[in-house]
């Protein structure tokens, strides 16, 4: 077990920078998820922690010790790959014991470690098979087993579930969470899937364009996204955005939509009147008005999800979504009226940064 410190780390290939000044402290036993769209630099960061890629500038410390000069084998970490990277010519048992053998662990210790991990992961019956004879889910388990037998200082996961079907992904997700609960090992998990990030993470690191956008607990990112990127990336279906103008007159708690409609805010932002802003509201927070209040919107499409439904609307001819639980009765008409609750509105300034309401 160990903490991992990423200290002003920069990475560039030739002249192209892929990571800019990343600072991050991962506490001992913490489960950190690096999330972002493809190409945001999250995998590169993970590979630099592993020692598979060089750090261009800055320093990474594992358990307080700078590891820049250490090769992967000397960092005492384990990694689960997206492709699983199981050794095709070795049995499951040999796959799992390979790392211990390289470390010249005594035979009895290897045997007990492997059988222990196999029991936890339900692999007992598969130990003598080759990876080729395993299903996708089983391979995934072997990859996990290979990582756990060594009790390394930290676990690194590189999109480990993205090759599984939806059902298995859900199942493995909860298993990883349970396993982390048992082992309490420092973990860094890379994914582009925000549900995985929300469900697994102690803290999420949202990355875009090689820069950290926000670090925080899943609920912090969900409730108080630091900028438009995080707001749009976290949550499904994604947040709705409307451009608006801030009105400081009166109580200073209102914005005006392009068509002149006024929307109430929950507090006062530190802005001058007339400032162009973006209003964000999550689809699950939009209310459908029963009477004559709210904004009139055109229904474009209804997508039932079983649990509820997603309404695709046009608001000022821009796409706008609502998620509601229950059945679609009451919305099966061409027009509905919606209410945007003041307490649920997010306000972003012209640079896309969150504006706090007082």
């Amino acid at each position: 077990m160990a903490s991992i410190v990423i200290d002003r780390v920069r990475k560039s290939y030739a002249d192209v920078a892929v990571l800019h000044d990343v600072d991050l402290t991962i506490d001992d036993g913490e489960f950190i998820v690096l999330v972002g769209p493809s190409g945001c630099g999250k995998s590169t960061l993970l590979r630099m922690i592993a020692g598979l890629d060089d750090v261009t500038e800055g320093e990474i410390r594992i358990a307080g010790r700078p590891v820049g000069h250490l090769s992967p084998k000397d960092r005492d970490i384990a990694m689960v790959f997206q492709s699983y990277a199981l050794y095709p010519h070795m049995s499951v048992r040999d796959n799992m014991s390979y790392g211990l053998k390289l470390r010249r662990t005594p035979k009895e210790k290897i045997a007990s470690a492997v059988s222990g991990a196999a029991r936890t992961l339900g692999l007992d019956a598969l130990l003598d098979r080759r990876p080729k004879a395993l299903s996708g889910g089983q391979r995934q388990r072997v990859a996990m087993g290979r990582a756990t037998v060594r009790s390394p200082k930290a676990f690194l996961f590189d999109e480990p579930l993205s090759n599984l079907d939806a059902r298995l992904r859900e199942q493995m997700r909860s298993e990883i969470k349970r396993l982390h609960g048992q082992l309490k090992a420092t973990s860094v998990y890379v994914t582009h899937d925000q549900i995985e990030a929300m469900t697994l993470a102690d803290r999420i690191v949202a990355l875009q364009g090689g820069r950290v956008q926000q670090v925080g607990t899943p609920l912090e990112l969900y409730h108080t996204p630091a900028n438009l990127f995080v707001a749009g990336f976290m949550g499904s279906p994604g947040m709705n955005f409307l451009s608006a103008t801030y009105l400081a007159e009166g109580d200073g708690k209102a914005v005006m939509l392009p068509d002149g409609t006024r929307l109430a805010l929950a507090g006062r932002p530190p802005l001058a009147t007339g400032t162009r802003v973006t209003i964000g509201v999550r689809p699950e927070h939009v209310a459908i008005a029963s009477g004559g209040d709210g904004l009139a919107v055109t229904v474009d499409l209804v997508e039932p999800t079983g649990l509820g439904f997603i309404l695709h609307l046009r608001l000022h001819d821009l796409p706008f979504k609502i998620f509601r639980q229950g059945d679609t009765s009451g919305v099966d008409r061409p027009q509905v009226r919606v209410v945007l609750p003041a307490a649920r509105l997010h306000l972003f300034d012209g640079d896309g940064r969150r504006v706090a309401l007082a």
Binding site: P72, A85, Y87, H89, Y98, G99, L102
Partner: protein, 278 residues
Amino acid sequence: MTASARRLKGGLRAAALSLYLAFALFPLFWLLKVSVTPNILLYSEGIRMWPSRMTLDHYAYVLTHSQFPVFFRNSSIVAGGTAVCVTLLAALAGYAMSRFRFRGKAVIVVLMLITQMFPLAMLVAPIFRMMASVGLTNNLLGLVVVYTAFNVPFATFLMQSFFDGIPKDLEEAAMIDGATRFVAFRHIVLPLTLPGIAATLGFVFTAAWSELLFALMLISDNQVSTFPVGLLTFVSKFSVDFGQMMAAAVMALVPAGFFFLLIQRYLVQGLTAGAVKG
């Protein structure tokens, strides 16, 4: 497609393949035919498909009264030694070309291409002088060294394509598991490249087994001649005894052909894996 059209297509394919088979195998059949034709029938039944009387005398003579067994042994040593050396060197170089990005890589590619570009006759005199100065003429080791140099470029290219077919993840997993890159190469990559190694071994073996030009130039002593040179001595020393020569040729073809039959499948696989994509 109707059943009859499909049958017609199948028939055409079978006919075309039969023609190819006949074209590929007939000259080899003729070699065999001459080698079992008694000397007195060699010309009188020269164009018959099979002699009226068959004999194995040529084979017996070649095995007992000629130096063919010596040539055969020499060729085995040279071809085997070359195949092992080349495969070892090409595996290392091909791995570097497949896995590393480094300064000078393009230069290496160009150097290796250059080696394929000119008539070998141009090199014979300089190489003879160099080998003579270090005492490696009339020496099987000298042949191995020269053959190794000339076969390394293509073999490197071939091995690189096999390595390209093996996911990088596997080595990275091994390196995280505690292996150095070289250990990962030995434990993980090499075992998975065995078909490629077999293909390279077989390819180089066949090439070295057949080489004539350098063997002629660097070897003058019969005791260290390889079989292509030895075959030519049938032309000069035995007043062109074609029957014996063909018998020797058939026997010499067997190992090369055997190796080739074993590896040709992997050769196709190896080229599929990577080389042809670029």
